[in-house]
């Protein structure tokens, strides 16, 4: 393991993380809900009465975040190296799996660990593990 000190941005990461934590805190304190993105988004696909607007507004806020950002500054780099077939496979896998496993990086990773849920800790360790393994296989076994 070699650390890429040039790419390492601890303060921006910590600051952004604190903002994500504030969002998760606001959502449980005010709305009484877990800020789990896959769950909020997935719930829109099986609309229940009285349960649509808050989901749509939350997702709308996320999608409009770059536009709000652009009022003040240029957007940070968003570099997507995967080609279209790979993006489609990855998207399908993320969509099915986050619903099957009842959460993703936000619901299990941030909120679940914060409330010390054993299920979420196991889920986070599981997706971190296959995330590390997948990148290892793609980059160092098959790839380049």
């Amino acid at each position: 393991m070699t650390i890429d000190w040039a790419a390492f941005t601890p303060w921006a990461a910590l600051g952004g993380g604190v903002l994500i934590g504030i969002a998760a805190a606001m959502f449980i304190l005010i709305n009484g809900r877990i800020a789990g993105i896959s769950g909020i988004l997935g719930g829109l696909l099986t609309p229940q009465k009285g349960d649509i607007l808050w989901r749509a507004l939350f997702i709308g806020g996320m999608v409009l975040a770059p536009s709000a950002w652009l009022l003040f500054a240029d957007l940070p780099t968003i570099q997507i190296d995967a080609d279209y077939p790979l993006l489609i496979i990855a998207g399908l896998l993320v969509g099915i799996s986050t619903r099957y496993g009842a959460g993703c990086t936000s619901g299990h990773g941030v909120c679940g660990i914060s409330r010390m849920s054993p299920r979420s800790i196991v889920a986070t360790l599981s997706f971190m593990a296959t995330g590390f393994i997948t990148v290892f296989v793609v980059r160092h076994v098959i790839g380049a």
């Binding site: 806020g61 770059p66 489609i88 914060s114 196991v122």
Partner: protein, 143 residues
């Protein structure tokens, strides 16, 4: 009730800005974090750390309560068992995350930035969630 809707929107906005500030909305940076054997960028551990420190305070505060500060019922997950769905789903999610560098939140933010590849990813992700719903509601076959 309007306050809850304003809060939902503002929360989504802050969440999205947090993803942009932190670098999580950039798949290249996410993959550099997941690439332990390459030139490793540990930044994303700090994203999780920052978020969890704030999260712990909020979730400790709500422990034992039944309603939010504005009186909404607290909807906390009630499942406790470590079943195969949780583990298989999480393992599968990690593979998809490692292939593209996108998890659901950052994908929505990159979608909002108008990145064509993120739009394709989000459409595929929604299709995946739709497939899950269809499989869930399929009548169980009797062998």
């Amino acid at each position: 009730m309007n306050k809850y809707f304003v809060s939902a929107f503002v929360t989504g906005l802050i969440f999205g800005i947090g993803l942009l500030v932190s670098g999580m909305a950039n798949p290249d940076k996410v993959l550099s974090f997941l690439d332990l054997a390459g030139a490793w960028d540990p930044s994303l551990a700090f994203v999780m750390g920052g978020a969890i420190v704030v999260g712990v305070i909020a979730f400790t505060f709500v422990r034992g309560r039944t309603h939010s500060l504005l009186g909404a019922p607290l909807k906390l997950p009630t499942k406790k068992d470590l079943d195969s769905r949780l583990i298989m789903g999480s393992l599968g999610f990690g593979i998809g995350w490692g292939l593209a560098g996108f998890c659901p939140g950052p994908a929505l933010v990159a979608f909002g930035a108008g990145e064509m590849k993120a739009i394709v990813f989000v459409v595929a992700m929604l299709a995946g969630m739709g497939i899950f719903e269809l499989l869930e509601r399929r009548p169980k076959a009797t062998a």
